[in-house]
Symmetry: C2
Subunit: 455 residues, 2 copies
């Protein structure tokens, strides 16, 4: 890691630009009704063509990476009406995308809990080689009982999950580094295929996992894949602080995001790293249209059928009685004066703000006030403003974007939001290089990290 | 499996045609010196472009499948001068090939010993979907201590390896079948995404592995991947007899091959199957050139540097003193009369036959008398004759071909051997369908095999 510390870092705000990633999941998009929207291929869920096309759209927008969540749990209970959320298989999807894109970083989630580390190591390194240095591994611990059941197990304790995760990441990075930078000679004249003394066993054995190695894969154009993490618990801070160059998160307010970002930066410092080595990337969901009204109508078309049910949730969020049958009417000023936004739901203050603007109950819900991330429902400039505000407040180093419907929502973001950010100098106009490490400003990594070999 | 039993099978020999598969490994070919040959890309080992091109060459020759061995063991001890034998990762390779071919079957080895079954299940099913029904899984048990060491383990006993293998295959087939044939509706008008009552948990728990399921992947164009096996022990007969539609093997004589083929057919019968459901596929290595002399010279160029060492081995094989320094001379008639071909090496009689033809020691070795499979070093017709003889003797249902050097050796086979076999009516001229099951004459499989659900 010495080389990482030696980099000169631009001070915050001085010309630094934000990162943008695309959330790639079931192929339809992040909103439940997406699969039924006009123009959507109903077979997107099993279509690798569709994934490739969507990644290409993000690459047209100069996104630094695509991000594929994963968590092979229960086939969702509402399978009668909704698609599962994830890719059929994240690695097979990225293999297809790698062959048909040129620049965009390829980041997939891989569980440290339910994988043989050697298998994860070779798949991500193979992806890194086949994409010419664009692979990233989102190293998470699995926490769902339904996921564990698919592996015939119970979810281990948090201590065991993170204990294993530390060992697995350490071991995999060691395997990735087991060929030195110049180990692969392949000189047809001299007949030397590789330098044996630069290909070393790792011989790591921990409490949870072990491996002798070496891996049999030479370095890629970026040396080896880069580590991402997703989550926000103290355990997540530690794991990411030690290993990750980027963190995928969910945060609803600038304050929350800034606190999370700082927690990760502090953790990085505890491991002797420069905090700028870890990029904090909260999510943003988007419904982009020519104006707010058109965007709200699109959202109503998508998820309007669930609004009666959601009104019940809004009632809890705001602490006032709401009549779910009166979707066309605003919530009365009198009622809103009595509102006590839930302290347990970070989305509540935003929901109250929207309600006070006087929108009908239907339009309040169409603003996406109850969703997994902050939601922009409006013209591109509203997304750009949100991103700028968070970025300049030190709440984010970038964003991962979940369009409502991928088939046209990625293009809408690329055409309506990206140019504004570029014009404001907040987002790059061209890829600075061809590897994911270059996109993130992280140095190449060859050989074995001293943190790994100091076992 | 009822539907399998219902098929009408052509009696042996009556117009039946052979299967051909291509061995796809490190990208160079099966002979040690391959990576240094003129016209070979020295970076083939890490090149996915190269693998795709080679698979396309096999598809041009109407091969029914490509076969990718795997066994992540020691980086070979002679890495200074030779490439590792396998793909960087078999699934990532097949994902690339799937996207850039149309017909050829895609068969990869996946260890039942060192994989989480749920992960194997979803990767092979994802491959099956992305290739539109062309995936096959070579379900083997890992037996190398060096492989086990990479997983931080010891190799389990044969009983435990095969005990686990039976459970893993059963469980994976159940996961593959967990969506009924028509379960995936995705009707945008009615809003029905899937039929919940046709997507069922498998809830299997054995001594070694378990899973609740269901898998979240709908059927492919062939329903689900097909099972291959590789090996020849009694345990292998049982596992393959129960589950496999094809067996990859190594056999040096017609007699051995016929005995193996019958052992697999008998095992299939013990499981109540029609023995024609299991195709027996021994290997064949090829050095094809315009005549025997040119082929021998090519072989000398490739591996001639190792002939002194190999002469020592030939001496043991034939039980006579051989002077490794006199490569240019034939072995004398007197010596050959005393030869006692080793009873422990099935290649010995063939080696003696070649020696008696009067070739120089160098040319004897250049015939490939010491290799992993029978070797053809000569014009295409010699390979065709070999294949016809074995096929018509009931020793093989097909062959997996290991060209000496892939860059031109696949094309040589396609241009020089395939047309002869086609002319003799022994090999198809066109793909009969688009799925691997169609290529092998196996019916589609949907839902859960009764052998699996009768737990
Ligand atoms: C934005 C975000 C994305 C996540 N993505 C995944 C994922 O793709 N797969 C997964 O299994 N878990 C994912 N997680 C879950 C975390 O890995 C972690 O298991 C969860 O936050 C529980 O926290 P803890 O285990 O640290 O207590 C994600 C979490 C967050 C906040
Ligand atoms: C032709 C052939 C190909 C094989 N391919 C593989 C392979 O790709 N990967 C692997 O781990 N083992 C492979 N094996 C090994 C077998 O799976 C098995 O482990 C070995 O034959 C030991 O036999 P037993 O375990 O049945 O006693 C292969 C064996 C044969 C004969």
């Amino acid at each position: 890691m010495d080389s990482l510390r030696e980099r000169t870092h631009l001070p915050f705000g001085s010309g630094k630009q934000m990162l943008i990633g695309l959330h790639l999941g079931n192929g339809y998009g992040s909103q439940p009704g997406a699969w039924r929207m006009p123009g959507v291929d109903p077979e997107s869920y099993t279509s690798f063509d569709v994934r490739v096309k969507q990644a290409q759209a993000a690459e047209r927008g100069k996104f630094q990476f695509i991000f594929l969540p994963d968590g092979p749990g229960a086939v969702i209970t509402d399978i009668e009406s909704e698609s599962p959320a994830f890719n059929l298989d994240v690695m097979m999807t990225l293999a297809a995308v790698a062959r048909e894109t040129q620049y965009i970083g390829l980041v997939a989630t891989g569980s440290t809990t339910f994988n043989e580390p050697f298998n994860l190591a070779r798949q991500f390194k193979a992806l890194d080689v086949m994409s010419h240095g664009r692979a990233g591994w989102n190293a998470i611990t699995s926490s769902g009982d339904d996921v564990a059941a698919n592996y015939g197990r119970k979810i281990p304790s948090s201590e065991d999950r993170y204990g294993r995760a530390h060992e697995v990441v350490q071991l995999i990075q060691a395997l990735w580094g087991s060929w030195g930078k110049d180990a692969w000679v392949h000189n047809q004249q001299t007949g030397q295929f590789a330098k044996k003394e630069q290909i070393l066993p790792i011989s790591l054995q921990g409490k949870y996992v072990g491996s002798r190695g070496p891996l049999y894969i030479p370095p890629s154009e970026q040396g080896q894949p880069i580590i991402f993490h997703a989550g926000g618990s103290p355990n997540a801070h530690e794991l990411a602080g030690r290993f990750a160059n980027a963190v995928i998160d969910a945060a609803f307010t600038i304050e929350d995001a800034r606190a999370q970002r700082n927690a990760f930066r502090e953790a990085a410092k505890r491991y002797g790293r420069n905090p700028d080595e870890i990029k904090y990337i909260p999510g943003l969901m988007t419904t982009i249209a020519k104006d707010r009204r058109a965007a709200l109508d699109r959202r109503i078309q998508l998820t309007g059928h669930s609004f009666r049910q959601r009104a019940g949730y809004l009632q809890q969020m705001l602490g006032i009685p709401i009549d779910a049958a009166r979707l066309d009417e605003p919530i009365s000023k009198e009622l809103l004066q009595d509102a006590r936004p839930s302290r347990y739901d970070p989305r509540a203050p935003h929901a109250l703000k929207i309600a006070k603007e006087g929108w009908s109950l239907r339009d309040i819900l169409a603003h996406g006030v109850i969703d997994y991330h902050p939601v922009i429902v409006g013209p591109g400039i509203e997304a750009a403003d949100h991103m700028q505000a968070w970025f300049e407040a030190g709440a984010a180093d970038g964003f991962w974007i979940s369009p409502d419907v991928n088939s046209d929502g990625i293009d809408a973001f690329v055409d309506e939001v990206v140019p504004i950010l570029q014009e404001r100098g907040l987002f790059h106009k061209e890829y600075e290089g061809k590897t994911l490490r270059q996109h993130l400003g992280a140095p190449d990594q060859y050989g074995i990290d001293p943190r790994v070999s100091n076992k």
